[in-house]
């Protein structure tokens, strides 16, 4: 049985993205001290996908991150760390398993639906089911939670945590939890970095599916140019607003991810002793700034007062520019590490 009160000595470090934050914090807890951006890069977290057939709050899904769990999966694989993952049908069993593992002093990462997390600011409570947190203890019926996108650790009641772990709908977590089981004495970070870069170049350039990677960005750009005609002004504005929320709202972020990746490239340059990566990092920063410009343009439509007539083609142009620049950047990056 798990004692009623239990607190694992877990260091909460705030991060920009939930999954890379959880990965970095879990790895650091087990002695592999890496930054969020390094985990982000090794985990090959940069991604783009536009899936109009998956709806979130009735609007098409634009995602800047890969399948949930991918970052940790790739990071652990790259570093030779072993992790265990479980999914559950039965909430009782899911909570008992959680209690058992934290009872052994192991912090547990899990996928949750933010709608049910009581500490989330009300304005951010949407049905978004791919949020990652770490549970590192409990006090009575309250669980101690390190949610990496928040300044400090928080608490979450058992009832709320069950709801969050068994949130329904798109990307339902199904009680998914994970923890590290074995960490090697020596890890080859350089090798993991190269693998991470290779993986990202592959997803951004080589997936033979038009809605993913650089091709996906181009596809979205072409769609956006047609939205006002196809959907009407108000629907188009809602769609654009949704893209921007997916891009800029806490923890996701298209521009933000470019900046994290640029930070990773700086670290990689140092670790690999490869100066040319610094230049690519700089280009990545510029692309991130372009994405921010896109968001700035986009919200003018959300306010319902497009300044100089129709700004949709202008937005499409910015996106196309992002796609072209990223296309070139990932090709150069792939050449550099091959």
């Amino acid at each position: 049985m798990v004692p009623n009160s239990l607190k694992i000595n877990f260091v909460h470090r705030q991060s920009a993205h939930c999954e890379s934050g959880v990965a970095a914090n879990l790895l650091s807890h087990h002695g592999i001290n890496i930054s969020e951006s390094l985990a982000f890069g090794i985990g090959a977290a940069l991604f783009f996908g536009y899936f109009p057939f998956i709806k979130i709050n009735g609007l098409p899904l634009t995602t800047f991150r890969g399948a949930t769990g991918q970052i940790l999966k790739r990071a652990t694989k790259g570093l030779g760390v072993q992790a265990k993952r479980h999914r559950f049908r039965d909430p009782e069993k899911a909570m008992n398993a959680l209690d058992r593992i934290i009872g052994q002093g192991i912090p547990v990462g899990m996928q949750t639906g933010v709608y049910w997390l009581p500490y989330f600011p009300p304005a951010l409570r949407f049905h978004f089911n791919a949020h990652n947190i770490v549970v590192y203890g409990k006090e009575g019926t309250e669980y101690l939670v390190s949610d990496p996108v928040f300044d400090e650790p928080v608490v979450c009641s058992r009832t709320d945590l069950i709801k969050a772990r068994f949130a329904q709908g798109a990307l339902a977590p199904k009680g998914k939890m994970y923890y590290l089981t074995r960490v090697p004495d020596h890890v080859d970070i350089a090798m993991a970095i190269v693998r991470g870069i290779r993986d990202v170049c592959k997803t951004m350039l080589k997936i033979p599916f038009p809605l993913i990677g650089v091709r996906g960005i181009r596809f979205l750009a072409r769609q956006i140019a047609n939205w006002p005609e196809k959907l009407g002004e108000s629907r188009a504005s809602l769609n654009i607003g949704h893209v921007i929320r997916m891009q800029e709202e806490i923890g996701t972020g298209g521009a933000g991810f470019r900046f994290i990746y640029a930070a990773f490239l700086q670290e990689a340059a140092e670790i690999l002793g490869e100066k040319r990566l610094l230049n690519i990092s700089k280009r990545m920063t510029e692309i991130g700034d372009r994405w921010r410009e896109f968001a700035l343009f986009g919200v003018r439509n959300c306010k319902g007062r497009a300044l100089e007539g129709n700004t949709y083609p202008a937005m499409a142009d910015i996106l196309l520019d992002c796609a072209n620049q990223e296309d070139k950047l990932f090709r150069d990056l792939a050449d550099l590490i091959s």
């Binding site: 705030q14 920009a16 600011p121 304005a123 949407f126 709908g169 949704h242 929320r245 923890g251």
Partner: protein, 140 residues
Amino acid sequence: MRKKNVPQDSGILDRWHEIKYAIDDDGCYVLAPSVGWEPANIANKQAWELISKQLDDVIKRIQAQDLSPLAYYMVKNQMDIRLLAKYVRLSRWRVRRHLNPAAFRRLKTSILERYAKTFNVSTEQLFDVPESSIFDNGPK
């Protein structure tokens, strides 16, 4: 983005900050806390305005006896029939039926409890619908 340009427009994060990666004067990346960015705030507000509008529509239809109070809680919790059916583990057509005022009134307690538990309210509250959508979940 430069560190000095990291936006500080509060709006949706309450007392929290988000972490932004930005470059310092030497071009090195640093982590900078931010209280938010206006474009993100505007996009967020737009999403809540939509929910609020849907809620107003549904309240009118409930007052006209066109829908049961269940519709209010469904929309308030940003759900549609498909999502709600998953949460209460009922078939979609049964949930659709429960949106009918007469069918909803005849529901047995065990089913009402499922709905109440999903929405974090009591079974009595399930029959209460406010006059208009003073939306307590939204920003501000």
